[in-house]
Amino acid sequence: MVLLTAAVVTLLASSGADALQARSEYELKAAYLYSFGRFVEWPAGDPRASGDFIICVLGSDPFGPALDATVSGVTLRGRKVVGRRLSTAAGAADCHILFISASEERQLETIVGSLAQAGVLTVSDIPRFVGRGGMIQFVVSGGRVRFEIDLRPARDANLTLSSELLRVAAAVRPDREQRQ
């Protein structure tokens, strides 16, 4: 019994103290969504500037409780962070960050097209989201969640992505001024 207790304590000490222990994919992605808010500048004169900081999920929600748990009680630039779920892209322009669920893959081009000038940071894990008009795409590699960035749609939306964000990104698709 003493040995068992000792083993339990050892186990607790090694895992409990370790903030970097394994997490579910969408807990991590929820945390990323929040963190992106710290490293992106929205355009001045943002009509949403006075209210809450809004993180939306469009389509079938893969986060479960993870998004609400992540944003509960946290703030970004003094604003309360709110998670919101959308079934259509109609209200998406009110979001600061829009996560587009894989369920929306077929309408993807339409959605990102309609938000091109809206100043919304679009994020998704749809394959090739980056390259199809999306700004940040999650990629799971080596059992880790990382992300890729496309600068062109971000620039079109007047969003400024900090160098810190670009440095950490797994890949950055450059902004070619004149694309054929």
Partner: protein, 668 residues
Amino acid sequence: MLLSTAKILHSAEPDPPSQNPARLTELSLEQLGDIEVTSVSKQPETVWQTAVAIHVITQEDIRRSGATSLPELLRLAPGVEVARIDSDHWAVGVRGFGDQFSKSLLVLIDGRSIYTPLFAGMYWPAHDTLIQDIDRIEVIRGPGGTIWGANAVNGVINIITKPTAATHGALVSVGGGSLDRGSVAVRYGGGDEGFSYRAYAKGINRGPEFHADGADFDGWWTAGAGARADWTRTGGDEVTLQGEVSRGDHGQRVSISTFSPPGLQPLDGALEAWGANLLGRWQKELPTGKGFRLQAYYDGTSWDAPHFAERRDTFDVDFLAHLTLARRHRVTWGGGARRSPSVFTPVVPTLDFSPREHTDTIAGGFLQDEIMLVRDRVWLTLGAKVEHNGDTGAEGLPSARILWTPAPSHTFWSSVTRAVRTPSRIERDLQQTTFSAFTPTAIGPVPVFIRVTGNDDFAPERLLGYEAGYRTRLAHELYLDVAAFHNQHDRLGSFDIGTITVETSPPPLHVLAGVHYVNGVDGTSDGFEVSPDWQLNPTWQVKGSYSFVKVDLATNPASVDVNAVSRYEGSSPHHQARLQVHATLPHRAELTTAYRYVSRLPALKIADYHTADARVAWRPVSDLELFVSGENLLQPYHTEFAHTPGPFVGIARSVFAGFTWTSRNAAP
């Protein structure tokens, strides 16, 4: 015990920081990128990071292909041989061994096995699920026995339908054409965050393929309805309940032997199929990286063919759990049991089973540990399953796999796996009498019949597989997947000649040449698959695959079957190639064209063939898609496999057109 105690103590602590997801928001981006994602081997993993030759057919691939049946969809995966025998029968193989009875290949729909122990394969026309509900099809080439158990020898195909949260709203899809004459599918779904549901109904009427003699025996229809409900709770619990009923008449020509003259005659008729299944699943994922899944299902089938009838009830329960130990070990374990009582009813005197009633049983357990040997670089997975079946006893199914990712865009993997295929009822219990010829005797011509009998001593076929693969991203959106294999096959089935006897009952007097199943063939198979996938730009996507397989077998001295080796070696194509180009056109239109080449099947006297499919779709408004597709366009008809009895069936050029309407909010 230790772990559960640890968990209780752990949760008793006052809100330990690591248990609070909000704590993640205080980490830097780099730190977030270092956190390991939990996942279970029997659940979808990122394909890139799997030490298995796996190809995922996505819902976009499915929609773009225009395919309207499951076996036609499987043509999209490298290493899979799909040969249409007639309108409602297919021979499907993975890495060789294509056969109408698709031996050594395991197929599951939402975790429910559709592999029948009657003939050790899939009876495809009875499994015509709603194509629009399919989320993805994971095609695993090579043995997967450690997780999936016996009969996952040459491959495992997992058909996974969408969660109900992804199918809210209404869907109506209607089409018609030259082969698929009429097809209707309706679906409705709804719900909120905690509860979601959908229900569907569909029906398809398919015409015959091309018959030179005009005998259009292979027309068929199938209809089905099903429903699914998903509950999710904030604790990480997910509960799913789903069920289906189906009914179909599948036209076919069979040959019937009779003791009285003419001895052998073809009979055209329909197999009347009924099917019903009900599945429940409870799964729970904890933020600590632990989780489990408990699943149980019932699957009932009733088949009334022109020459036999079978009724089968399958009950299956399956448990799987995973946990992470010391951050280096991802341990997955589980167990399951299946009981499948069946009754065979003879319809003609020359086809019977002995015994007619039989219950197949399987019980087993497995343990697998994925060990991170070098942080973020090298993983070693060791596992074993022990499975006991009621007919041939226990089998051990071990495997070792290693994965190396020297850089994020390069993955190397290799594996050694053992797998077995357990005998089907045919191989153990069949009593089939087939007319051969009349032999002249002093009392006049006497009919000679071949009687094939099952063999209680038929042992499981075994495979030892060695595999290696490499996946890379050559350019930003140019992906390449290469896999090669060397398989050692032992105890493959063949026929052996038994005794020759003379029977007077039933009359008239006849000669019986006994033939029975034995494990008479051994050998190897080798091959590789190369599959590039290139998104040139947002408009153009090119996917391709080339698959090579060479089967090299020999009859062992105990067997006298002179045909077995050439039958195995020559019933699958050495070379297969496929190229698909998809274009996203302006005005919400799209065009997909696919070309395929399949080399000849010498054992079946089937020539090589090239053909092509094309599909054009246009969405005038976002809710509505109009489409026209053409299949096998390069010639009026071609043959893909031998048909017994009788002449070859030509697989005809066909067109299909229709529309799919989805209400807003519904993901198609």
